[in-house]
Symmetry: C2
Subunit: 586 residues, 2 copies
């Protein structure tokens, strides 16, 4: 706890009457308030920056900056941490060498699996992490109430309780249906956040200006779904702060920054995020550092780009007294960078501790998670291939099929005639119409729904995942029911994971035992294993770059046109369950 006596010691250190923990000399300070760059020293005591400028006080550790730029630690304004498949500890080792010292985390995945207890277990002891873990409190757990089974539920009461946490900076992203639909539960969650003087993250995908007006009137503070400059400008005009996203699939810096540069619009209300970025992409090209670097390449002033990654985000979340700048009173989250055009730090400090240097990230302490988080997959012992039968009368059936669109998470509803054999509809590999099933995995009702999907390209076998947005039941796609059942049974055995199977045997499997979402292995191992997993699926005929990722998004009941949950096939825009079979022919 921060007390007056600790503050007093910090002031004494600031005054030079108490030995500093660290003094960093010989740096070019990147000042995010004045946009100046000038020589300075930095005094650090008890996690804090206590003096900046000419600092002469003695210190336990002296760091010679060697003339490097001193840049505030970078902030990711919106990230779903579970998408990386890593624990926060393992993720830390990947992002920290790239200078991200703060993540604003919407941990809605673990909350859907394990509710408030799961969420609290995830963030417990987060002060030991090499980055600052701030929370965007998940606003929609479940995402599609009444249309899916989830492990956890966060109602108004739970959300209000979580918003009181010191780490909580906002209500997590609300999709348009919740606000434009004016549903009381979500409006109450919005008011609970305002009441705590915290903001509300948005997700205004594809909204036009009329809907954006309602969105802003509903106190949604920001949006990370602008793809075109015109969209960004419309949001900015209405006081909706744009978060410029550069994830693995959604790469918006290149489409947004040139417009910002060309039109000279003020950037003080803009910031950066990744939303969903794969760990191997982070490893190779960088994290928020990449948003900055690429913006500079696209013509933005380097300090302006750094402001977007630091003080702007800090101010948006009302934490500019704690992070986002190198100024007295702020936590000592500091990067030493030789070249702003690469944005590759040679040293990273978080809370006044060196967490990475030229040799990479310092080891991150391991953490114990509660046993319950490793035991979230419960489908029962009596599972069999029978569950995937698609019963139909007649000889042919006209069916709704989920047609995937390459590299996008939206899909199309198409109608296809399927042959009926022995009273059931099998997959039709020749037309790439495969079976897709969702298996309830929380031991609540044992539901299994099966539908048809086009686009995976599998010639044989099946693959399955216990990561399945946002409900995270088991999703499985396959050319035959037996391999699908093998996958599901293996996932149960592993307590969650990614699995592929061919000819009645497991082809490859990666355990994701933490909530059925995350591995407990180090980042490099997970990256290597994912490459191998993908290779196994490619050998089954699938040409997707990230087949397990695509699988984990295809069942989403909130992304048009069709979704699939354990309740059945979902007409997304109609918010209802619909029949897969439209008509049959005798």
């Amino acid at each position: 706890m921060y007390t007056a006596s600790i503050l007093k010691k910090e002031l004494e250190a600031s005054k030079g009457n108490r030995k500093l923990d660290i003094r960093i000399d010989n740096v070019q300070l990147v000042n995010v308030f004045t946009r100046e760059i000038y020589p300075a020293s930095i005094g650090i005591y008890n996690q804090k920056i206590v003096s900046v400028g000419r600092v002469a006080a003695d210190a336990d550790m002296l760091i010679d900056g060697g003339g490097a730029y001193a840049v505030p630690g970078l902030i990711d304004s919106h990230i779903h941490i579970e998408t990386t498949l890593l624990t926060p500890e393992a993720l830390g080792e990947v992002i920290i060498p790239w200078g991200t010292t703060t993540l604003c985390v919407d941990a809605m995945e673990i909350a859907n699996v394990a509710g408030i207890e799961g969420l609290l277990a995830m963030i417990k002891d987060s002060e030991k992490l090499p980055f600052r873990l701030l929370l965007e409190i998940p606003s929609r757990v479940p995402t599609a109430p009444g249309l899916e089974t989830t492990g956890g539920v966060l109602g108004v009461e739970e959300v209000t309780q979580l918003l009181a946490l010191d780490e909580a900076v906002s209500l997590g992203e609300l999709d348009p249906s919740k606000v434009l639909g004016m549903k009381e539960e979500y409006l109450e969650k919005v008011l609970a956040s305002l009441d705590r003087r915290k903001i509300c993250n948005g997700h205004a995908i594809g909204l036009g200006v009329d809907d954006l007006n309602i969105y802003a009137a509903g106190h949604l503070s920001d949006d990370h779904e602008s793809v075109y400059y015109e969209e960004l400008l419309e949001r900015l005009r209405l006081g909706i702060v744009p978060l410029i996203r550069e994830g693995s699939s959604e790469r918006n810096v290149d489409t947004l920054v040139p417009g910002i540069v060309e039109h000279h619009i003020p950037t003080d209300n803009m910031m950066f995020c990744t939303d969903d970025k794969h760990v191997n992409d982070i490893y190779k090209e960088g994290h928020i550092s990449y948003n900055v670097k690429r913006s500079i390449e696209l013509g933005m002033d380097p300090v302006e780009a750094i402001q977007m990654a630091t003080i702007n985000a800090a101010r948006h979340f009302r934490l500019e007294d704690r992070i986002g700048s190198i100024a007295p009173g702020r936590f000592a989250d500091i990067l030493l960078i030789d070249d702003l055009h690469t944005m590759k730090p040679k040293m990273v400090l978080k809370d006044g501790r060196i967490v990475a240097d030229e040799k990479g990230a310092r080891p991150v302490p391991e953490k114990e998670y509660p046993a319950a988080l490793f035991d979230t997959v419960h489908i029962g012992a009596d599972f069999s291939a029978e569950k995937f039968r698609l019963v139909s009368g007649g000889t042919r059936a006209k069916c709704r099929v989920i047609r995937m669109i390459k590299d996008q998470i939206i899909n199309q509803e198409v109608l296809e005639w399927m042959n009926v054999k022995n009273g059931e509809i099998p997959a039709d590999v020749s037309r790439d119409i495969l079976k897709l099933a969702v298996v309830e995995r929380y031991g609540k009702n044992g539901r299994v729904s099966t539908a048809l999907v086009q686009g995976f390209g599998l010639k044989r076998g099946a693959l399955a995942a216990s990561v399945s947005h946002d409900h995270h039941n088991i999703v499985v796609v396959g050319t035959n029911d037996e391999d699908m059942a093998v996958c599901v049974e293996k996932i149960q055995e592993l307590h969650g994971g990614f699995v592929s199977a061919v000819d009645g045997h497991v082809a490859d499997a990666l355990a994701l035992p933490l909530g059925g979402l995350m591995s407990t292995l180090p980042a490099k191992t997970v990256m290597k294993r994912m490459d191998e997993m993908n290779a196994a699926v490619a050998a089954m005929g699938c040409d997707m770059k990230a087949p397990f990722m695509s699988l984990s998004f295809i069942s989403l009941p909130t992304v048009p046109e069709l979704g699939l949950t354990d309740f059945g096939l979902i007409d997304v825009l109609g918010h209802r369950i619909i029949d897969m079979i439209v008509e049959t022919e005798e």
Copy 2:
């Protein structure tokens, strides 16, 4: 209380499914996010802006903007409201025609007089005011503990309680001695504000860069005491937000803005305040509108100057979701202005109500204050001129004299030989060395201290005030003890006020019965009466422009070099009581 069902109605109005209260058409919207100006309509429902752009929905009232600029209501980031001598109701009628719709009020004067109850009484029913009254919770009541008697005391407990108010936006200004002196009580108040996610106002008068480092390390968020551009730059660099002040005496826009314009430094971390501005100055030249107008004259881009008066301040106080812009979800505080170079609104809306138009302010509802606030002057019945005797031995005494400096609140300590007659030291009108006394007025101990002052220029008579910063005991200056006593007795009779007396009779008097600080008369009457009061003092030989204002600041125990409280003569920098008589001659 703001509930989900009210929010739902606002969203329905935004969508066009519910009749608007007001629609304003045909305006040029000044967009403080993008710095653009473009044609728009504005829809208002239930105090809020619910739609901006092409608004077609029907409304109870249609306002034709006639092509005027639509500007967000202006924000004064720091004002001591009592200095105007007006009640908030009366002040509203003066500031509202100039477009100030939000005041961030440090009501430390009433708190010094009447404590937490007085403060709460002042802000009660403030939603009926034509401006938004936000509170900077007074951090130093009393200002000089142990050196003065005050009516009220706000300790850590009271401050913490007040910070919980929704209207509370910050801890009010802390002077350097409290922070640099690292006094636990004030550090605890700082932490109490941070704990509520609120900021801490500063007052970094004259500090150099080393002290500013400590100041920032102590979490002081801002400062309104920059006089030179270099001072402003030093503060900005250290993350201390500069408030650019334009009061009646302290006029900083002309010394600061040219540097800002010349050096092109970012202004998103700067804003405007008045601190202390007399009502007749506001009436004649404007309020925050004057800061904006003068900045434009000095070369600042008009929209940038408006940003400083609106969104920048809103963001600083973490209220950008409520005020500071014309965007959906914000309170409808809107000015219609034909010419940005005059900044004189032709219409002012606050919370979606028209509060001023071309005919001036709409009448403000009267308010009843508790009887106790009209009964704060208690000096007892036995008061007499005897109290002002300066007893001395010898024939001459070498005395410390408070020498005033023209147009400044600081003073000098000078040593002067005074004649002793009949065992006491009388005033020496020939050298303009007059008696200055402070009379404890809270009925707590009846203390009276008397000293000597040079600079008032009175040839005869005396003047007195129950406004006496920051303790607000009675301060009186005079050429003779009898007229001084007449003044003090009259102030008691009026329950507070300004009084002048000559030849044993009251010359003129203005009652300030509300806390002994404020009049209950309308603004225009108070202005007229103050002119008359000043004329009476001028007739007594004083050539000061604002003699009562000078009198009310001369006793301050926190402004160097000397102060005077009911405890005695104060050595300000030494924080101690000192003897007035240094030596005597037989």
